[in-house]
């Protein structure tokens, strides 16, 4: 049986990210501060079309949009 997060459009990568984030937040304060820095992403990308650079997009934001589209469509 596929896990529930998969039905919501989340990828395995995202599942691991969420699990790792919650483990970091559960640490004692002194270790937590050093560990939480590892969870930050600042990676951005831009699509180039016909020699022109497109908008710079944060990878995390783009992933969130993609996963929302991959989830089960709203019945409304």
């Amino acid at each position: 049986m596929a896990p529930a997060w998969k039905a919501a459009g989340l990828t395995y990568n995202k599942y691991l990210e969420v699990a790792a984030r919650v483990v970091r937040r559960s640490l004692k304060d002194d270790i937590r501060l050093a560990a939480e820095r590892r969870g930050q992403t600042e990676l951005r990308f831009a699509k180039w079309t016909s020699g022109k650079q497109g908008d710079l997009t944060n990878v995390a934001d783009a992933n969130a949009v993609a996963m929302a589209e991959a989830g089960t469509p709203k019945t409304s």
């Binding site: 919501a8 989340l10 969420v18 790792a20 483990v23 970091r24 559960s26 929302a68 989830g71």
Partner: protein, 166 residues
């Protein structure tokens, strides 16, 4: 008659057998180590680097399992949970991993890859409790499908943590 003849040849053959080098009598089982080489690796740190241990208990997606030397080669997806490492002299050590993979290689080697892993004494039970109530609110709320799914993943991890920290 025949048996007598065999007995005589055996008697004659014995001195030669004694002279044979002792090394040849060594069996296969004695030569093989009963330890498993464990590598427990995070993206930022190696907790174990091909170190000999006796047994490793892992929370695989297909069920909890213990891995000893000469285990069948396999690849197991790990749930977020407790890994127990039984060393020969230092006793057993416990790490909470956030999920990853365990790969049993044919030559008694075990590689565990995870995103985060810490010994139990590094966790704060108060932080776990406050996060559980927060995640429960989101999981039962009216957020997006993805937010609810994330909160449910968090709850699963936190409840596992709470159970082992008690």
């Amino acid at each position: 008659m025949n048996s007598l003849r065999i007995a005589r040849t055996v008697l004659r053959a014995r001195p030669a057998a004694i002279k044979a080098p002792l090394l040849q009598r060594r069996g296969y089982a004695e030569a093989v180590s009963d330890k498993i080489k464990l590598s427990l690796v995070l993206p930022h740190q190696s907790i174990y680097k091909s170190q000999d241990v006796v047994q490793v208990n892992i929370p695989a997606e297909s069920g909890d399992m213990g891995v000893l030397a000469n285990h069948v080669p396999s690849i197991e997806q790990l749930k977020p949970g407790l890994v127990e490492i039984i060393e020969e002299t230092a006793g057993s050590k416990q790490y909470f991993l956030s999920g990853g993979f365990a790969i049993v290689q044919p030559n008694s080697e075990l590689s565990i890859n995870a995103v985060e892993g810490f010994p139990l004494e590094d966790f704060s039970i108060d932080a776990v409790r406050s996060q559980i109530s927060e995640a429960q609110k989101i999981a039962g709320g009216s957020g997006s499908e993805q937010d609810i799914a994330e909160a449910k993943i968090e709850l699963e991890v936190l409840e596992g943590l709470q159970a082992v920290l008690k």
